[in-house]
């Protein structure tokens, strides 16, 4: 059966709302938590998909931004809860437990770091880009492990979830609502970007950098903008993820997390608007159901992933719509 991609997209979003809605009715709050996790991982992968799917740059270090967002939340909330100011040397900042403030900081810091790393790394390409982004993520990982002030390897626990004006974020369904709305807004933004002249130029730069240069555009600049945007979105997801768990730790910087984000995108379909969302739902679902079957569920997860690569070119969306995904 071949389906229209727009229909598939609509169905996915509907499903992502329907499941927690059903869980609320039958009083299964944990299912809502799972759906929230899927939404947040999807958001992180949507960020990655901008550089990976449209820009054709395989970043194997996006956990870096995820972790930065998480630590932005952790550090701000830590200072707010202990009533101590965050001393940056030249300026003292009060902590905060307000989600919008934390989100802005998380995106700002991630964007800044993405800009610096982008300037340093975007001259490389292919496998070298994969590895240098990994290197930067590893640097932050080891730094976070030895940063004793904020818990080091133990991580930082934030005992109460941060607040959002007018909502009770501790109620699972309300926190899910926040994450879902943020995800939809970012998807909308992403769709706009893809259709904009910038998005088209970025897409063209992936297919042929020389041609883009020939019409007077600088592919490196295009990629830098995409990288910064991508980092900021993944950073935002990191802040939400930390709030979901009320906890941050260096594992948010780990290379396996970078790998998992890539996996999400490939499962769903590279370069597809909704690819990361489908991928995240499937991944979280597999994690949950396979884990119930056997202690050795990683074997089955591995086998399923292998089948997706070998037989499912274009991911799930590709299978449903009969179109192959973008080539990277």
């Amino acid at each position: 059966m071949r389906m229209n991609e727009t229909w598939v997209n609509a169905l996915v979003l509907l499903g992502l709302v329907a499941v927690p809605g059903w869980a609320l009715m039958v009083d299964e709050p944990f299912t809502i938590t799972l759906a929230t996790r899927a939404a947040i991982l999807a958001l992180a992968a949507v960020g990655l998909n901008i550089v990976l799917g449209i820009g054709g740059l395989v970043s194997f270090g996006h956990a870096l931004f995820f972790g930065l967002g998480g630590y932005a939340m952790g550090i701000l909330a830590f200072h707010a809860q202990t009533y101590s100011a965050l001393d940056l040397g030249f300026i003292q900042i009060e902590g905060s437990t307000s989600m919008p403030v934390i989100w802005l900081v998380a995106m700002g810091v991630s964007a800044l770091v993405a800009a610096v790393i982008g300037i340093l790394t975007l001259r490389t390409s292919g496998v070298y880009f994969i590895m240098i982004t990994l290197a930067f993520a590893q640097m932050f990982y080891y730094f976070a492990i030895s940063w004793a002030q904020y818990g080091g390897e133990d991580g930082l626990s934030i005992y109460v979830r941060n607040g959002f004006p007018g909502l009770n974020t501790l109620a699972p369904i309300q926190f899910f609502g926040i994450c879902f709305v943020v995800l939809c807004l970012v998807l909308l933004l992403n769709a706009r970007v893809q259709a904009s002249p910038f998005g088209l130029a970025l897409n063209a730069a992936r297919q042929s950098a020389t041609r883009v240069e020939a019409v007077g555009l600088d592919p490196i600049k295009l990629r830098l903008v995409a990288f910064v945007l991508s980092g900021a979105i993944t950073g935002l997801a990191g802040a939400l993820f930390a709030d979901l768990n009320r906890f941050v730790s260096p594992s948010m910087f780990s290379w396996t997390l970078s790998g998992e984000l890539i996996v999400l995108i490939i499962i769903g379909g590279v370069g597809r608007l909704m690819g990361p969302v489908i991928g995240a739902c499937i991944f979280v679902g597999l994690e949950h159901f396979l884990g119930g079957l056997t202690d050795f569920w990683h074997i089955y997860l591995g086998a399923i992933l292998l089948c997706i690569v070998l037989f499912g070119r274009g991911g799930v969306i590709g299978l449903l719509t009969g179109k192959e995904g973008a080539h990277v």
Binding site: T121, Y128, M131, A135, Y142, V270, F296, L306, V309
Partner: protein, 306 residues
């Protein structure tokens, strides 16, 4: 700090580097010939270590363990090449990353399924145990000296294989122009299987050799895999020479950084804090090195193509 200690630390760095080279050589060979990013290379290292531990445990012979490690890793390598990897040569890097990531999951949990959750025992052979006294009064473990020797020997053998033999010519031709060697009548799929098995055997050898002085456990391959990637990226992907230089650089940076950075920090900090921040910086050292090399030369020291 005495000169003897410094020399000993340099030897330690060399030994670490040489072991990394065994891992990196296979990885870079596979990338150079087939253009494949093999994340599962660390799993082959683990397979080697487990095979060696199992066989050495049964027979009591370290040598048999080594042979088993080579055979098991080569076999596993050939098998995954024929079943999975073969379908991915034309695929994007991204698909290769995902497929080999999946292989890591399967190998790690499969090994745990077969061997259980506890580490295995593998000891160095009695003939190589204990220290020897080097000129200048340095006491150094004989086994580690042997590792340096074996690593250099394998490096030399690999160089001879690639420069002086028929299969070496095919490998080099494969790196330069795949269509051409196919046109010349070389059985390219057999060549790929052989190269992959060779790379896997090198990883298995490294796993067995290192397993004797470390712990043979599930997940032992992944940290080494990341280091091996750092090595080949610094050296230039596809270049055996680059892998050798890169491995020594990484080995020396990691070992000497861990020793000397805390000492350096003690010059302007108090002891405990210097120890902590020095170690923290040292643990980031090789990634800083890699970042610096790539910013300076975006395709690594000896790399030709991206």
């Amino acid at each position: 700090m005495s000169l003897i200690l410094i020399i000993e630390q340099i030897l330690n760095g060399l030994q670490f580097g040489v072991m990394l080279f065994l891992m990196a050589a296979g990885l870079t060979l596979i990338f150079g010939v087939m253009g494949l990013i093999n994340l599962a290379h660390g799993s082959l290292y683990m397979v080697g270590a487990f095979a060696a531990a199992a066989v050495a445990g049964l027979t009591g012979s370290f040598l048999l363990g080594l042979i088993a490690a080579l055979a098991a890793a080569a076999l596993a390598g050939a098998l995954i090449e024929m079943v999975v990897i073969r379908r991915l040569y034309r695929a994007a890097h991204l698909d290769q990353v995902l497929a080999t990531f999946a292989l890591i999951l399967i190998f790690s949990e499969g090994t745990r399924w077969v061997f259980g959750s506890f580490p295995l025992f593998l000891d160095i052979p009695a003939a190589l145990s204990g220290p020897v006294t080097l000129p200048g009064g340095i006491e150094y473990p004989l086994y580690r000296l042997a590792l340096i020797g074996i690593g250099l020997g394998v490096g030399l053998g690999l160089w001879l294989l690639i420069e002086r033999t028929r299969i070496g010519i095919q490998i080099r031709a494969g790196e330069n122009d795949r269509e051409m060697i196919a046109a010349l009548g070389v059985d390219i799929s057999r060549l790929y299987t052989v190269v992959f098995a060779l790379g896997a055997a090198l990883a298995g050898l490294a796993g067995a050799l290192v397993g004797a002085i470390q712990s043979v456990q599930v997940g032992m391959g992944e940290p080494v895999l990341i280091l091996a990637f750092v090595v080949i990226v610094i050296g230039g992907i596809g270049s055996i020479r680059g892998a050798f230089i890169g491995a020594l650089l990484v080995g020396l940076t990691d070992t000497l950084g861990g020793v000397f950075l805390p000492e350096l920090f003690k010059l302007f900090m108090d002891g405990g804090a210097a120890q902590k921040s020095g170690s923290a910086l040292a643990s980031m050292g090789i990634y800083l090195l890699m970042g610096a090399v790539l910013i300076w030369r975006p395709t690594g020291l000896f790399g030709a193509r991206a």
